[in-house]
């Protein structure tokens, strides 16, 4: 099993990351992934992401390792960008491989849901009026809590 975690300002190719997960492990029947990108609308011009270097990587690694143990994954990948991003640009990629689809799909949902509330990233939106920090959403807390109250909690 392997865990890949990266925080980077450079753009990435979600298709290439997905291909890198595919066909590697002969006992895997499932490759699942999620790609997040900058959503336009409401006059948004761009996003800027700040993070806590060092601590972020540790948090992402912990989330990925937890997913590997909980769902018996062969591979888990989390790539997250920081810095300025335009509408339509990729922000985050989460991928997992497993013998069966339910494990891979659940692990991907877990990683993206928990990342939103457990990894120190902050988004700032730029629009014609100026700039504003994005507030955390209660629905994100609920999505993460759904995983963290099942069977076992994330180790602190």
């Amino acid at each position: 099993m392997s865990v890949t975690v990266r925080v980077q300002t450079a753009r990435f190719d979600a298709g290439a990351l997905l291909n890198a997960l595919s066909g590697r492990d002969s006992d895997c029947g499932a490759v699942a992934s999620f790609s997040g990108q900058v959503r336009g609308g409401h006059g948004l011009l761009a996003l800027e992401l700040e993070h806590y270097p060092g601590v972020t990587e540790t948090a992402l690694e912990r989330i990925a390792r937890h997913a590997v143990g909980r769902w018996d994954l062969r591979q888990a990948t989390i790539i997250h960008r920081t810095g300025r991003m335009e509408i339509g640009e990729e922000i985050v990629f989460v991928g997992a491989t497993a013998p069966h689809r339910r494990a891979a799909l659940d692990a991907v949902s877990f990683m993206i849901d928990v990342l939103k509330t457990q990894a120190p990233f902050w988004k700032k939106e730029y629009d014609e009026q100026g700039e504003r920090w994005v507030e955390a959403r209660a629905s994100d807390d609920e999505a993460a809590a759904r995983w963290l109250t099942q069977t076992e909690d994330m180790p602190a």
């Binding site: 806590y52 939103k116 990894a119 990233f121 902050w122 920090w133 955390a136 602190a156």
Partner: protein, 81 residues
């Protein structure tokens, strides 16, 4: 005791700095917030219930015991992904 204090995102902008070293008689994160508010009322924003505290690299509750040399980071709610 000496602590490194870091502020992120909206809190960094409100505090007007990213990092400082303080010598404060603060046994917990909560006491550090009180001490910072006493120094400058601007720090009242840190007392907001949504503020999260990371000591070294762990998210901790406000009552977490601090020790000399700790890095205490004040963070608004996370909004990645």
């Amino acid at each position: 005791m000496s602590l490194t204090v870091r502020y992120f995102a909206a809190l960094r902008e409100r505090m007007g700095m990213a990092e400082e070293t303080v010598t404060a008689p603060a046994a917990t994160g909560e006491q550090l917030i009180d001490w910072l508010i006493e120094r400058d009322a601007l720090a009242e924003i840190l007392a907001h219930p949504s503020t999260r505290i990371i000591v070294n690299d762990e998210i901790v509750p406000r009552v977490h015991a601090l020790k000399a040399g700790d890095t205490v980071a004040f963070c608004p709610p996370f909004s990645g992904g």
